[in-house]
């Protein structure tokens, strides 16, 4: 009778032991998940800072595009005027700002076409296709190694 009871209790103990092991594993896993998540958050935070900077710069590039267009249209008779020179200098300021943030213009015209930073929007039809950039439709920029905006180009 007693032996039977002991057996029963041992079995029960074994069951409980298994259960507690399971719980412990689950707990460890949850804790590990949490710690890993924390680490992940730290990594993400860093990349988010970079991301928000490059996103802001991406939005600013629209102004630079318009500004560059504007400078292309300076009437000839005004070109030498001090006032116009001042405006041209603003462009220099903008370029310095980009440089300070390690933003660099992607080289285009004359370069071999590279789909990792160039996007071909058209090709000049010719018999001698060289796969190089003929002209730039929209300037591209990179921040360090990271491409903020690919350059839109016509290739030949």
């Amino acid at each position: 009778m007693q032996e039977k009871e002991i057996k029963k209790l041992k079995k029960k103990l074994e069951e409980e032991r298994i259960k507690s092991q399971e719980h412990l594993k689950g707990w460890q896993r949850a804790k590990a998940d949490y710690i890993n998540r924390e680490k992940g958050i730290d990594r993400e935070k860093e990349s988010w800072i970079k991301f928000s900077n490059s996103k802001l710069i991406l939005d600013l590039l629209n102004f630079l595009d318009s500004f560059n267009q504007c400078l292309k249209h300076i009437p000839k008779e005004l070109k030498g005027k001090e006032w116009v020179q001042g405006v041209v200098q603003i462009k220099g300021q903008f370029e310095n700002f980009l440089k300070a943030h390690e933003v660099e213009k992607i080289k285009t015209t004359g370069e071999p076409f590279d789909p990792s930073c160039h996007e071909a929007v058209d090709r000049v039809s010719s018999d001698n296709f060289q796969n190089i950039v003929a002209s730039e439709v929209q300037a591209g920029y990179k921040m360090g190694e990271h491409i903020i905006r690919v350059a839109k180009v016509i290739i030949k």
């Binding site: 595009d65 504007c70 990792s116 929007v121 058209d122 929209q138």
Partner: protein, 630 residues
């Protein structure tokens, strides 16, 4: 154990997702359309003349340069004998798809820093056996074991949690509008299984058509106004396309936006600028015919399923264009308010695949033991002026514990009532009462001096214990509330909605009470200062302050918020000036006289001494069950 990922292998775009801690997350594509590497990428594969393989964005970018070496939409040819002949080499559609899957495998391995060998891949519901087999083969070629193919509409329904809906069978309609294709699927969900009843669609209808119409309209109206055709000006078109895309997205949340492109072009007269207002109404007018074309596919699917709109219980929207209000309105006009919401329609297929992958990978088992719940609504207590002060914000994962120290509102207050509340409204009376209890025998002290620590503790099963302890005497009372989360989903939703509805009214009322509390405090401080200072202040100063106090008392309980703010500020300024003058005078006397403040400081401990007598009594613990609701 390596992760099983979920893959949305789409006609125009592909994406992948995985499960982490019970949540599906997108795996970023190494390069992408957006800044840090987008989530989805074009389903495009290319071979350059020098034998380089390109997949995704780079392949799309060089398509114009290398049309003969570029393959788009290989999915449309899956399961056929079609062969892509590229530079004297032949590729089957599954080989092309395999390149896309390989890229996903590589990106995922880079992301996890671990091997990825298994995947769940989604396919359109209408795919036949040959097409399904071809998809599996593509996986195998890419080195991925396809543990299951899941229908795209089923995956989307999973992402929206429709598989969790209990009870009777329901009919689900999935409206999937991608960049270039429309798929409508009707499914029956019952006993945990989604069964496809009918499918319909249009292989040449999608978001791209809408963009095209809008760009054409803008270019057309510029031509009308300025007489210049921009459609051959690559640079101008590039700028217009980008601005249009941005405007389209903005118009999903605003009613009006503008396309502002200075120096878009020039003629002999000089530069020309584009400045055009676009309203949502105008956009909707333009794309209306495209949206209308979807009706045929919906009707066909319903006819085949022998259903009418009323018998469809849930509608799931998939794809970017379904974010547009006009598309949502169109669907609501047919089906009423049955649209499932809350998941990004562009990500839901990949996310659903990831959920399936997690279930197949056995991650669900782990979750069963450690399934952690959240509190559906905010929990807090009522504080001065009938304000609800939250302690545990809604959506907090439980078990959780939080404590905050409060004080008394009146002098010699010997008891505080802890009114435990649940809800999102700032005013106590608008929330649900979970229970209340009184902590008494607080030693008499000036208001603000006693420290009452209130602690909220919810265990994993949602049982909430609220305790309040007087830090001076360690006397404690507590209440246990068993069903803090016993509200039905509908009740919770109702409470959240009400909170949104009354948000601005509530904010005003809360502001009123906050300023009233502030006024109360100020009056108390001023009166005390005058009393303590005795004859150290000039009678005329004293009179001014007293007048201001009277004035503030008068407006305090009125409804004029602005007047209250004004008088409050005036009294504050006056008392500060008076205080400054007192210090000046003290300095002038050259003998610091600090008897006033120190006297009051000593007052506190004295009273605490009295309290020690009370402390000798055993603290009475009271247990309060939740009171039945009114």
């Amino acid at each position: 154990m390596s992760k099983i990922i979920g893959i949305d292998l789409g006609t125009s775009n592909s994406a992948a997702a995985y499960m982490e801690a019970g949540k599906s997350k997108m795996i970023p594509s190494a390069e992408g359309t957006t800044v840090v590497g987008g989530k989805a990428f074009p389903s495009c594969v290319a071979f350059t003349k020098d034998g380089q393989l390109l997949v995704g964005e780079p392949a799309r970018r060089q398509a114009v340069a290398n049309p003969e070496g570029t393959v788009f939409s290989a999915k449309r040819k899956m399961g056929t004998d079609h062969k892509y002949k590229i530079f004297d080499k032949e590729y089957t559609p599954q080989q092309i798809s395999a390149f896309i899957l390989q890229k996903i495998k590589k990106d995922s391995e880079l992301y996890f820093g671990d091997k990825v060998e298994k995947a769940v891949i989604t396919v359109p519901a209408y795919f036949n056996d040959a097409q399904r087999q071809a998809t599996k083969d593509a996986g195998a070629i890419a080195g991925l074991e396809v543990v299951r193919l899941v229908n795209e509409p089923t995956a989307a329904s999973f992402a929206y949690g429709l598989d969790k809906s209990e009870g009777k069978d329901q009919q689900v309609l999935v409206f999937d509008m991608g960049a270039g294709t429309l798929d409508v699927t009707i499914m029956n969900f019952g006993e945990g299984v989604f069964e496809v009843i009918s499918t319909s669609g249009d292989t040449a209808l999608g978001g791209t058509d809408m963009d095209e119409i809008l760009v054409n309209d803008i270019v057309g109206s510029f031509k009308n106004e300025q007489g210049i055709d921009l459609s051959n000006d690559k640079m101008a078109m590039q700028r217009i396309r980008e601005a249009t895309e941005k405007a389209k997205i903005e118009l999903s949340s605003t009613l009006e936006t503008e396309i502002n492109l200075p120096f878009i072009t020039a003629d002999k007269q000089g530069p020309k600028h584009m400045l055009k207002k676009i309203t949502r109404t105008k956009l909707e007018e333009l794309v209306k015919s495209i949206v209308e074309r979807c009706r045929k596919s919906i009707e066909q699917a319903m006819k085949d399923a022998k259903l009418n709109p009323a018998s469809v219980e849930k509608v799931v929207l998939v794809g970017g264009p379904t974010r547009m209000p006009i598309v949502q309105k169109f669907i609501e006009n047919i089906f009423g308010d049955k649209v499932a919401r809350g998941v990004d329609p562009m990500e839901c297929v990949a996310m659903g695949a990831a959920i399936q992958a997690a279930i197949l990978g056995g991650e669900e088992e782990v979750k069963d033991v450690l399934l952690l719940d959240v509190t559906p609504l905010t929990l807090g207590i009522e504080t001065l002026g009938g304000v609800m002060t939250p302690l545990i914000e809604r959506n907090t994962t439980i078990p959780a514990e939080k404590s905050q120290t409060f004080s008394t509102a009146a002098n010699s207050q010997t008891s505080v009532e802890i009114h435990v509340l649940q809800g999102e409204r700032p005013m106590a009376s608008a929330n649900r009462t979970l229970g209340r209890f009184i902590l008494d025998s607080i030693p008499p002290a000036p208001r603000g001096i006693p420290q009452i620590e209130v602690k909220f503790d919810i265990d994993a099963s949602g049982i909430l214990t609220v305790s309040a302890k007087d830090k001076a005497t360690n006397k404690e009372q507590h209440i246990t509330i068993k069903d803090s989360s016993a509200l039905s989903k509908e009740e919770i939703e109702k409470m959240k909605k009400e909170a949104e509805k009354f948000a601005s009214e509530d904010r005003k009322q809360k502001e009123m009470i906050d300023i009233r509390n502030k006024a109360d405090n100020l009056i108390y401080t001023c009166e005390k200062t005058i009393k303590d200072a005795g004859d150290k202040i000039k009678p005329e100063d004293k009179k001014t302050v007293e007048e201001k106090i009277e004035e503030l008392k008068k407006v305090k309980d009125g409804q004029d918020l602005e007047a209250l703010k004004k008088v409050n500020q005036e009294l504050e300024d006056t008392i500060q000036k008076m205080g400054a003058a007192m210090y000046e005078e003290a300095k002038a006397k050259a003998g610091p006289d600090q008897s006033a403040p120190s006297e009051s400081k000593e007052g506190g401990p004295k009273e605490e001494d009295d309290s020690k007598k009370n402390d000798e009594q055993e603290p009475i613990e009271g247990e309060f069950e939740e009171e039945p609701q009114k």
